[in-house]
């Protein structure tokens, strides 16, 4: 299949290895990945902070870019439950707020072909064993928007359990928010900190080497807290689902010192 990658703005700049891993994984599975340089952001930050009017041109830019590919690609993939949720649920909302019925319709057409990574793998590419190798203990944080907006359910766990060498352990209070919440983490930083402190403590309590999730934003939050408060060689690290699934015996994932980074 021909798959268009929307790495998300945050991954593109802050945690690029998540996108690189997505490319490695999909190509290994025999698919062609394309990346359109005109893409920017899905507009979630603006929308969720109430800046619909500022979100509208961002949404329009997103729709322009990906609409132009609809004929040429089989699917658009985003390694983020939250951003894929925004495309599906909020783009039509922003268009309606602007009174732009045409944009709403076009956005819906783009959204219909847009998938979060685990959805793409399990539902579209019909694969759960991607041939990955990751001989480590991991614990899974489901992330709120993957769980409650996209309802990806057990898909990520099915993919993880099929990874050779992996051990998946239980995360206490896994379905509680990590406290990221986009601009919430800055506007209500003390409350957000209280939430991520508890999440990081639960990750440590799980005994896992890695906490895995499908959203780099949540992982940047949890990983950032783990790095600040639980530093040390044995401290758990954050890792994206794509990074685990891209890891093989031949090219195993080796973390760098940077949060969500890979040693080159």
């Amino acid at each position: 299949m021909r798959i268009s990658l929307m790495p998300t703005c945050l991954v593109d700049v802050m945690t690029p290895d998540v996108a690189r891993s997505t490319v490695m994984l999909l190509e290994r599975l025999g698919h062609e990945v394309v990346f359109d340089r005109r893409q920017t952001c899905c507009g979630q930050m603006h929308t969720n902070t109430g800046y619909y009017k500022e979100a509208a041109p961002v949404v329009r830019s997103f729709v322009d870019t990906f609409e132009s590919q609809l004929e040429e690609v089989d699917a658009i993939v985003m390694p983020s439950g939250s951003c894929a949720g925004c495309v599906r649920e909020q783009h039509p909302l922003v268009a309606r707020h602007e009174g732009d019925a045409e944009l709403e319709e076009r956005a819906a057409a783009v959204a219909a072909k847009t998938y979060e990574l685990s959805e793409l793998l399990v539902d579209v590419l019909k694969v759960t064993d991607v041939g990955a190798y990751f001989p480590h203990t991991v614990t899974y944080h489901p992330t709120c928007h993957s769980m409650r907006i996209l309802k990806v359910g057990p898909r990520p766990l099915r993919l993880l359990r099929a990874v050779e060498g992996i051990e998946v352990v239980n995360l206490p209070q896994s379905d509680t928010c990590c406290g990221f919440g986009g601009t919430f983490s800055v506007k209500n930083d003390a409350t957000s900190d209280a939430m991520v402190t508890d999440k990081a403590a639960n990750v440590v309590a799980s005994g896992a080497e890695y906490v895995v999730a499908g959203d780099a934003s949540c992982l940047m939050n949890i990983g950032g807290k783990l790095h600040r408060e639980h530093a040390g060689d044995s401290a758990p690290r954050a890792i994206h689902l794509a990074q685990i699934l891209a890891s093989t015996r031949e090219e195993p994932f080796v973390p760098s010192g940077t949060i969500l980074g890979r040693a080159s």
């Binding site: 409650r148 990221f180 409350t191």
Partner: protein, 543 residues
């Protein structure tokens, strides 16, 4: 099509007077914004412990009794549909309720706001010569500060609900819809009783049974004294077709107040209506499981008007607006009025669990309060503490999952944020705060593909001025970012994905074209002229 022949506006029979917001004297607004109030609450270790324990316990109870209901989602749908029916037909249903209550021997009063409701209740109480009145736990009377109003008129109010009594004796404010004293533990409750309860045994322990026993003795004396007296209640439901009011409570103290006095005054928000008696079947299943985590509610009192020789011989219903019709005006926000006050959203909310209810500054805390309070009071300017409430959520969506009437709280939170931003945008000179400037700038950049591409490609090189693999604490003079780096490290932006991709494309194209390459092998994917953008990435890359 001729415009003249078309009717542009349809008369929906909306009132000529625009609905007004809740009166400022209502307990619906704190003195400072949520972030600051939350910061203080988060620093209180005892409070954190009390909240964590209590919310976890109630949440687990709720989850187990909801799980056993096979038709729970259908029940939620039914509850939601009934509530939408009520919001769609509120004026007719209210008139029907008034007629039913009147026919059953009750008297109906209409109160536009807290002041009017306070005046009505005070007048009724004073006319009957009551010095003391007993109260059934009620959110509506908390909201309008009725206890204070009555105290001002020289009437002493005694709360009969145990938790509400604890709060009252402590001179405190409730912090939870269902469990007003959730922020207190039993050692603190013992101290409160010793300080404020007359004739208490000074040797009393903090054993819950002993504390409940002390409260029971204290309240029994008041109940026995009630024959010529006045009691005040709210109601969970008001049935339009029969005029029946329903009070759902756990202790039986409410029933004492509803049955023993001569005069009963019920203050009820106009949204509490259910169309018919049969609709109670839905709500009396949804409410106890969602609120206390019980299969069936222990004390459900239904009363209709007055009956000679049985219960109160005089019944007054005060129907309270206090901003509710203003909430009703907003089609996207109005379902906040569907709330049946179960408080499941508070118990499951990761924000509420950590900050407690006082940080919200309103009688209605937690996620439901964050959408209800600002709509009821209106938000006049950016400095309004209630302007911060819609942001007091990470939008995790746990509240929506548990809401028994399916109020989409996260969507309404975002809607209210947008409303607040739009209001500021339209007010001259207000749209230039740090966030406004940042969002405008980011919006411009993110809708200009070429500028954005250049900016992202330079982010990595630019950030090399900062040392290390991750970014630690940044100075507070910077805008916004320290909110992040005060608490957690930030990955150091290195080579962006798009730079990596471009390099790979270039390499791959160069490899492809090396044998017999003729022109410009270095730039095979240069931007197409005129398009302003560059679609790279046409092939699958190297194997």
């Amino acid at each position: 099509m001729s415009r003249e022949g078309r009717m542009d506006t349809v008369d929906l029979g909306m009132p000529a007077v625009r609905p007004q917001h809740a009166s400022p004297s209502s307990h619906l607004r704190g003195t400072r914004g949520f972030p600051a109030a939350a910061r203080d609450a988060l620093g209180d270790e005892v409070l954190r412990g009390n909240l964590t324990y209590a919310t976890a316990t109630i949440q687990a109870k709720r989850a187990s009794v909801v799980r056993e209901m096979r038709d729970w989602q259908k029940l939620r749908d039914a509850g939601s549909a009934l509530k939408w029916h009520v919001t769609d037909h509120l004026p007719e249903l209210l008139e029907q309720l008034e007629a039913s209550v009147t026919a059953a021997g009750g008297t109906v009063h209409w109160a536009r706001d807290a002041e009017e409701a306070g005046e009505i209740v005070t007048r009724l109480t004073l006319e009957r010569g009551a010095q003391d009145v007993l109260k059934v736990k009620s959110m509506a009377t908390q909201e309008i500060g009725l206890n204070e109003t009555l105290a001002h008129a020289g009437v002493r109010v005694i709360e009969s609900d145990l938790a509400e009594l604890i709060v009252q004796l402590a001179g405190d404010a409730p912090s939870h819809i269902l469990v007003p004293a959730i922020h207190r533990n039993r050692a603190q409750i013992r101290e409160i009783f010793l300080q404020a309860m007359p004739d208490i045994d000074p040797e009393i322990t903090d054993d819950p049974a002993a504390l409940a026993g002390a409260a029971r003795r204290f309240l029994r004396e008041r109940f026995l004294d009630m024959e010529q007296s006045v009691a005040i209640s709210g109601a969970n439901f008001a049935v339009a077709d029969t005029g029946t009011l329903v009070v759902v409570e756990s202790e039986g103290n409410g029933r004492m107040c509803l049955t023993l006095p001569r005069t009963l005054i019920s203050v009820v928000g106009i949204e509490k209506i259910v169309p018919s008696f049969q609709d109670l079947e839905v709500f009396l299943q949804l409410l106890p499981r969602s609120s206390t985590g019980e299969r069936m509610n222990p004390y459900t009192t239904l009363f209709t008007g007055v009956a000679e020789g049985d219960g109160p011989q005089e019944f007054h219903l005060v129907l309270l607006d206090n901003g509710r019709s203003a909430v009703l005006e907003d089609p996207e926000g109005r379902s906040a009025l569907h709330c049946i006050r179960c408080s499941a959203c508070l118990n499951v909310c990761p924000v509420y669990q950590r900050t407690g209810g006082h940080a919200y500054g309103s009688t209605y805390p937690g996620p439901i309060g964050a959408i209800l309070s600002p709509q009821m009071t209106g938000v006049s300017d950016p400095e309004d503490p209630n302007a911060t409430l819609p942001y007091a959520s990470s939008l995790c969506g746990a509240c929506y999952d548990v809401c028994p009437v399916k109020i989409d709280i996260p969507s309404i939170l975002v809607h209210l944020r947008a409303k607040e931003v739009d209001q500021r945008r339209e007010a001259r000179g207000q749209f230039r705060g740090t966030w406004d400037v940042a969002m405008k700038g980011a919006g411009r950049l993110m809708s200009s593909p070429r500028a954005y591409d250049a900016a992202v490609r330079s982010a990595g090189p630019l950030s090399r001025v900062l040392p290390g693999e991750n970014i630690g604490r940044l100075p507070g003079v910077l805008p916004l970012v320290p909110g992040w780096t005060d608490h957690r490290d930030l990955p150091h932006p290195g080579q962006s994905f798009r730079s990596w991709w471009a390099a790979r494309e270039k390499h791959s194209a160069a490899t492809d074209q090396q044998p017999g390459a003729r022109d410009e092998p270095e730039q095979p994917k240069a931007p197409r002229s005129g398009s302003g953008t560059d679609r790279t990435a046409q092939n699958g890359g190297e194997a």
